[in-house]
């Protein structure tokens, strides 16, 4: 996934779309908005990002899971099998992005990239509702996909690269 920080206005439509699409319980969220302001007045730079699970290439959450409930599916989406999750919290502690939370039903929940939609050829809910079209979803292994082209032609950054997780959400800056 690639997210254009120059286009994002922080409207939170992605947050609401996700909560509706995935029946996220009230008071919880799988994605959120981060706003940073850098510099000293009057030289200020603002960045707005839509954040979620980075579906990392090097997944500390999958590594620390004692039961194997956390896993990487074919295609690179990181998921949790609810029936195998005992709710120990190891994956929550291991995530530098704090992208996982305890679902009130006793398992750990997180962004799934709406894989139920992706299977049918649709975009994740957050991507499809974005009013500024700031998000691009697709196959990063395919050099001809729109997302690969964006990542190849624009300047990008990932969050906390020093954590060594190889995040797969690229922010276009």
């Amino acid at each position: 996934m690639a997210i254009d920080t120059k286009k994002c206005v922080g409207c939170s439509d992605c947050v609401v779309a996700c909560q509706t699409e995935n029946n996220v319980p009230h008071g919880y969220s799988r994605d959120w908005i981060a706003e940073t302001v850098e510099g000293t007045y009057p030289d200020l730079a603002m960045e707005i990002r839509s954040e979620r699970c980075n579906h990392c290439d090097n997944t500390p959450c999958v590594r620390t899971c004692p039961t194997g409930a956390s896993h990487v599916t074919e295609g690179g989406i990181v998921k949790v099998t609810h029936e195998e999750c005992i709710g120990c919290g190891a994956c929550i502690e291991s995530c530098p992005y704090d992208a996982r939370y305890f679902h009130p039903d006793g398992y750990v929940d997180k962004c799934t990239f709406c894989d139920h939609r992706v299977k049918n050829g649709q975009d994740p809910a957050c991507v499809s509702v974005c009013p500024t079209h700031c998000m691009y979803f697709g196959d990063l292994d395919d050099p001809n996909s729109e997302v690969s082209k964006k990542v190849a032609t624009r300047k990008t950054k990932v969050l906390a690269p020093e954590a060594g997780t190889k995040p797969q959400i690229f922010y276009l800056i």
Partner: protein, 336 residues
């Protein structure tokens, strides 16, 4: 320079405003696990070195307390799970990458080995069947027969045979127990250090540091438990050595943080002037290490010191150390 970071749309309980996924259960369990590791290590060690006659309390009664600590610790772990009814899924798989999987299996093995150990010493530890509590009596009567007022025996032949086998192969059991105790002690630290998302925990020295602290709390408890003067004095010396090693490791931990990346420097700052400074230095360093260290040094210089004072202080310091590390580790997060 970053002026401000606002996160909106996310208010996940136990994650925001700061991570609080692990509460009192985990540090309590880490303390009890370390304590059990210490108790079992010394029991095994003194059998291997053939000094069991001098260390009767260590060998006979230490493992009983250790098993009790493990059971209470497991209870705390179970309370920590958000889906405790599924806990058995820990034992349907072995995942070498996951410290928690290691821990679950090591705890199971340690409980079994220490139970066998306790069983093989039970006749020596409790020669009389003097249990007065009604339901305990009934429970014990399932496997035990009272021969007369001064002795008892196992009810089943295979139990008697197994007891003899355990007693004959005591040294082998001791080796198994020492190895398991070291793994258990190191694991309590590695459980935390395996999370590179938490800068304060992500230090390789946490393994040996928690092991040393566990051994030290084990020695402190044995020092309080034993009535034998030689045993008391021995543990006083052992504890003094362990305190010095622990201070050395803690110094190295902070040196490592301060010479590392920005997040780790900031993690260390929480203890060197930040909000955890007083709690940590007062409870862990001064009350838990330096004062008992001085008291034990004075005891070696033939001053009369009631062992209960340094003993309790060491236990207190060990417990506070784990509570502070678990709590602070979750507050200190990655900056991006």
């Amino acid at each position: 320079m970053r002026e401000e970071l606002i996160t909106s749309g996310r208010m996940n309980p136990l994650i925001d405003p700061y991570l609080n996924a692990w509460h009192w259960q985990i540090p309590l369990y880490l303390f009890l696990g370390g304590l059990a590791a210490g108790l079992l290590f010394f029991a095994g060690y003194f059998i291997i070195t053939g000094k069991e006659s001098k260390y009767q309390t260590t060998v006979k009664y230490g493992p009983i307390v250790a098993l009790g600590a493990i059971i209470i610790g497991l209870g705390a772990l179970l309370l920590d799970l958000k889906h405790p009814a599924y806990f058995w899924q820990l034992y349907t798989t072995i995942r070498f990458d996951s410290p928690m999987s290691w821990g679950a299996w090591v705890l199971l093995l340690t409980s079994v080995v220490s139970a066998v150990w306790i069983g093989s010493y039970l006749k020596e530890a409790f020669p009389k069947f003097g249990c007065k509590i009604g339901f305990m009596r009934k429970l014990l009567k399932i496997v035990i027969v009272e021969k007369d007022t001064n002795s008892w025996d196992w009810k089943f032949n295979w139990l008697q045979k197994f007891e003899k086998y355990a007693q004959d192969k005591r040294k082998a059991w001791a080796w198994v127990m020492v190895v398991l105790a070291v793994i258990l002690g190191v694991y309590t630290g590695i459980l935390l250090s395996a999370f590179n998302a938490r800068p304060l925990w992500n230090s390789a020295i946490l393994g040996p540091l928690f092991l040393t602290s566990g051994l030290s709390t084990g020695a402190a408890l044995l020092m309080i438990m034993t009535k034998n003067h030689i045993e008391k004095l021995a543990y006083s010396r052992i504890d003094l050595l362990l305190i010095v090693i622990e201070l050395f490791f803690i110094t190295h931990m902070f040196m490592g943080f301060l010479a590392s990346s920005e997040v780790k420097v900031e993690a260390a700052q929480h203890f060197l002037g930040g909000d955890y400074t007083v709690t940590f230095w007062l409870n862990v360093i001064i009350l838990g290490l330096i004062i008992p260290g001085i008291l034990e040094a004075l005891e070696l210089l033939k001053f009369k010191i009631p062992v209960i004072v340094p003993g309790i202080l060491i236990l207190w310091g060990g417990m506070m150390f784990r509570f502070i590390m678990v709590d602070a580790g979750q507050v200190i997060r990655y900056l991006y």
